[in-house]
């Protein structure tokens, strides 16, 4: 499989250009199925490179379904073609592309959670924490403002005196 993917990669390299922002963002939203240890943008494993190539072909202006199917065959197997024929089309949205790979690899491939269920909590909780932290700050400051001024300044050096006394008692 490695050789095939390299050949496909090489074939796609004759037209050299920087990766599009869309391609880069999509690569950041899918985990690499080789080790599930990071997103495909960070991986150079054959399967990660294969998925990158499929995405590149799907979002390409020169959309060619045969080309996509050929790459899919190299990366996965024949069974995926029926599935691909149902889903792959020109002008797919980012969400459709992600869902296409979720259909093949399962939910585990998502690097960004869906905005529902626990995924909704994942999206909303940080904002809640941010507001809560600001609220906590306000509460703490208000509590300090309510305190009487300088309750006990004499307490300041008690500990060192206590330590010194104890040291003397101990014979140090």
């Amino acid at each position: 499989m490695n050789k095939f993917i390299y050949l496909f990669l090489i074939a796609s390299l004759f037209c050299v250009e920087f990766k599009s922002q869309r391609q880069y963002q999509l690569e950041q939203q899918l985990h690499a199925p080789c080790c599930w240890g990071g997103v495909i943008a960070e991986h150079d494993s054959p399967i990660a490179n294969g998925i990158k190539l499929i995405i590149k072909n799907i979002i390409s202006d020169e959309f060619d379904k045969n080309k996509i199917n050929n790459t899919l065959l190299q990366v996965y197997n024949k069974n995926v073609l029926d599935y691909s024929n149902k889903f792959i089309k020109q002008n797919m949205t980012d969400e459709e592309i992600i869902n296409f790979f979720v259909g093949i690899e399962g939910e585990k491939i998502r690097a960004l959670p869906e905005n529902k269920g626990l995924g909704w909590v994942a999206w909303k909780l940080p904002t809640f924490i941010l507001f809560l932290s600001i609220l906590m700050g306000i509460i703490i400051i208000n509590r300090f403002r309510a305190l009487p001024k300088e309750i006990n300044q004499n307490k300041k050096n008690i500990s060192f005196e206590k330590v010194d006394d104890e040291m003397k008692k101990m014979g140090f």
Binding site: L9, V16, Q28, L112, P113, I134
Partner: protein, 657 residues
């Protein structure tokens, strides 16, 4: 032989640590000074034995003593000497011994420094250190003994993972361990202060330098890890929000909050309970981070292999959490602050908000890191959150913190008048506005980078204004030359101006982070027939390709062979530089391949090339070329941060007296 010797050292150290623990507890009851001295000496002996155990493992690694399983797994006869030594922290068993090895050094320093001081605190400090040390020694002894003898015939050794054979990996783990373990000392003093009811700022003053030094080391470790990832992992970035990376960030975030909030307790006797919570949280997070990287509860390419240790680490974390909560409840009344805060427009309020945001950031990173554990529990599948989620969610926090870095120093202690606010804020706001216009006119339209650069302009102008005001005031009163005045004001208030320099370092790092938004990447293929590609203002030309092996280059290629390409780079038509990306095959690691990044660094841009494959017959090379923007500012900012922290760490004669 070395197996028995090393294991015996660990066993004896463990026994002496337990003895010290017992003696110190007995002293607290008996108040017999001889018992205290005996407990202290037992602890020092345990530390020396632990230190010797570490030395023994280094000796075994250095001499490729393959009779030890650990040496077999993480070294080989082919491994270069420097990486034989770094094998000490490469594997689970060695890294656990390394942990306790560093703690033993810290413990000796603390016990020696305070041998005749603070007798009410020191038994408790020793008890806390002994508990932590005995836990790690127990783990080494019972589960992960680095001195376990090899089972079966002795081989040549597996060698060190090629990814770990990089100079940053020589420094990153020791720095990380120093940073993690260093927080044991302020934590031990905090617990001692709680136990003895000495809850004013004394324990904070005693541990101020420890905390700051530890924080600096942890900062270096975090950045060094990024540098290693940038150079070795070959994907072109330096931070991927991996669970193991995040584990190093938890204590850094709360530790940063702590080193800010202790200033308030030192100066105003406020935030007493909060500081206690922060140091407890920071230390507990160092252990939790260790648990996370060694338990296998979340998958990471950086984690150690999952073992049975998880339950022990989890137990220890739970013990610490219970101890901390118990003490906080028990001493609830003693932890009340002693001073009032007058206004929201005060420096104290700025510090409170700074603290809240740091802790909130830690909670968000924690949530994002543990999300896969939640999804596994609820849906039966681990769904990890990728870098996009972390970036989207944490950038607003970072920007609020950046703004506070500029706002807080402009506020007066207790209360800032409206006139003062107008006077102090006008110029920085105008300067940040000008920065924004310049940035916008340079074509930067992305929202976050634009806001970041505006805030950098704001914060930098507030810091420079502080230096200017200090220098001006001194110039008027002293009549000295400007250079002397500048040095004098720095010398008189090292922690304050050192802190400002640290903030300049942070600004430089933020500038580096913004560059990420403009990075570009291309996959290219070059061959002798088709040897040039053009990308942006650069053209890349394949000049040569060849192979080097241990036979042809015995010193340079001791444990690997390498396929190398030589690429000439032209900028706008003129020769710019030559880079030689290479692909290595490690002979002592089952022919594991590894790409070595070739890099041309400037302040503005890094040209970053990775060799994907090279066909030596045809000369066909596939390469990934990246143009990474402003990355150097992250590394330079770290150097400035270190410089600033060192200034703040210098002894203050007035304070010491």
């Amino acid at each position: 032989m070395i197996s028995i010797f090393g294991s015996s050292l660990i066993s004896l150290a463990f026994l002496l640590t337990i003895t010290s623990l017992g003696l110190n507890l007995w002293y607290l009851k008996s108040k017999d000074s001889r018992v205290y001295v005996a407990g202290r000496n037992a602890m020092i002996s345990a530390c020396l034995l632990t230190f010797s155990a570490g030395g023994t493992l280094v000796y075994a690694l250095y001499n490729s003593d393959l009779s030890l399983t650990y040496v077999n797994k993480y070294s080989s006869v082919f491994t270069p000497t420097i990486y034989k030594i770094s094998g000490f922290w490469a594997g689970m068993e060695g890294s656990l011994l390394f942990w306790v090895f560093i703690l033993s050094i810290f413990a000796i320093i603390v016990l020696y420094q305070n041998r005749n001081k603070y007798v009410s605190l020191m038994p408790w400090v020793t008890i806390v250190i002994a508990i932590v040390m005995s836990f790690f020694l127990f783990i080494c002894l019972a589960f992960e003994n680095p001195f376990a003898p090899v089972d079966g015939p002795i081989k040549m050794g597996s060698g060190l993972n090629p990814l770990l054979q990089h100079w940053a990996m020589l420094l990153h783990p020791p720095m990380l361990y120093l940073g993690f373990i260093g927080f044991t000392i302020p934590y031990a003093y905090a617990i001692a202060a709680m136990a003895t009811q000495q809850l004013d700022a004394s324990w904070i003053r005693l541990t101020r330098r420890w905390s700051l030094f530890t924080w600096m080391l942890l900062s270096i470790a975090v950045v060094m890890g990024g540098k290693w990832a940038y150079m070795e992992l070959g994907w072109g970035g330096y931070w991927a929000w991996d669970p193991v990376e995040n584990a190093s960030l938890f204590p850094w975030l709360t530790g940063t909050a702590y080193i800010h909030s202790v200033i308030i307790q030192e100066k105003k006797n406020m935030l007493v309970r909060w500081n206690m919570i922060l140091i407890m949280l920071t230390f507990t997070l160092t252990i939790f981070g260790t648990y996370l990287t060694r338990s296998g509860i979340v998958s990471s390419i950086h984690a150690f292999a999952a073992t049975d240790l998880s339950i022990w680490f989890f137990g220890f974390v739970m013990f610490l959490v219970s101890l901390n909560i118990g003490l906080l409840i028990y001493r609830h009344k003693d932890l009340n602050s002693q001073n009032q805060l007058d206004s929201f427009a005060s420096r104290e309020a700025g510090f409170v908000f700074n603290n809240m945001i740091f802790v909130a950031m830690m909670l968000v990173v924690l949530w994002g890191t543990l999300y896969p554990v939640m999804t596994e529990a609820l849906r039966g599948v681990q769904i990890r959150l990728g870098p996009t989620w972390f970036n989207q969610k944490l950038i607003p926090f970072g920007l609020v913190l950046l703004a506070l870095t500029g706002i807080a120093p402009l506020l007066a202690w207790r209360k800032t008048s409206i006139n003062s606010i107008k006077r102090n804020f006008s110029l920085p706001i105008v300067l940040s506005f000008i920065t924004g216009i310049i940035t916008f006119s340079l074509g930067i339209r992305k929202v976050y980078p634009l806001i970041t650069i505006i805030l950098i302009g704001f914060v930098l102008s507030t810091i420079l204004l502080e230096f200017y005001r200090g220098t001006k005031a001194r110039l008027k009163s002293s009549g000295e030359n400007i250079f002397n005045v500048f040095i004098t004001i720095m010398d008189k208030n090292r922690s304050r101006y050192g802190g400002y320099i640290v903030h300049i370092g942070i600004l430089m790092m933020f500038l580096g982070f913004t560059g990420k938004a403009f990075d570009q990447e291309a996959d290219v293929s070059l061959s002798p027939e088709n040897n040039t590609v053009e990308l942006a203002e650069y053209s890349f030309e394949l000049k040569e390709y060849w192979q080097e092996s241990p036979n042809s280059h015995p010193k340079k290629r001791q444990n690997h062979k390498a396929e190398i390409t030589s690429i000439d780079i032209y900028k706008n038509g003129a020769f710019y530089t030559n880079l030689k990306p290479e692909r290595r095959i490690y002979i002592d690691q089952n022919s594991q391949p590894h790409s070595e990044v070739a890099l041309k660094t400037t302040l503005n841009k890094d040209i970053y090339i990775i060799l994907g494959s090279l066909d030596l017959k045809t000369g066909m090379a596939t390469l990934k070329i990246r143009l990474n923007n402003l990355v150097s500012w992250v590394w330079l900012g770290t150097l400035v941060l270190i410089f600033g922290t060192l200034i703040a760490l210098l002894p203050n004669r007035k304070l010491d007296e």
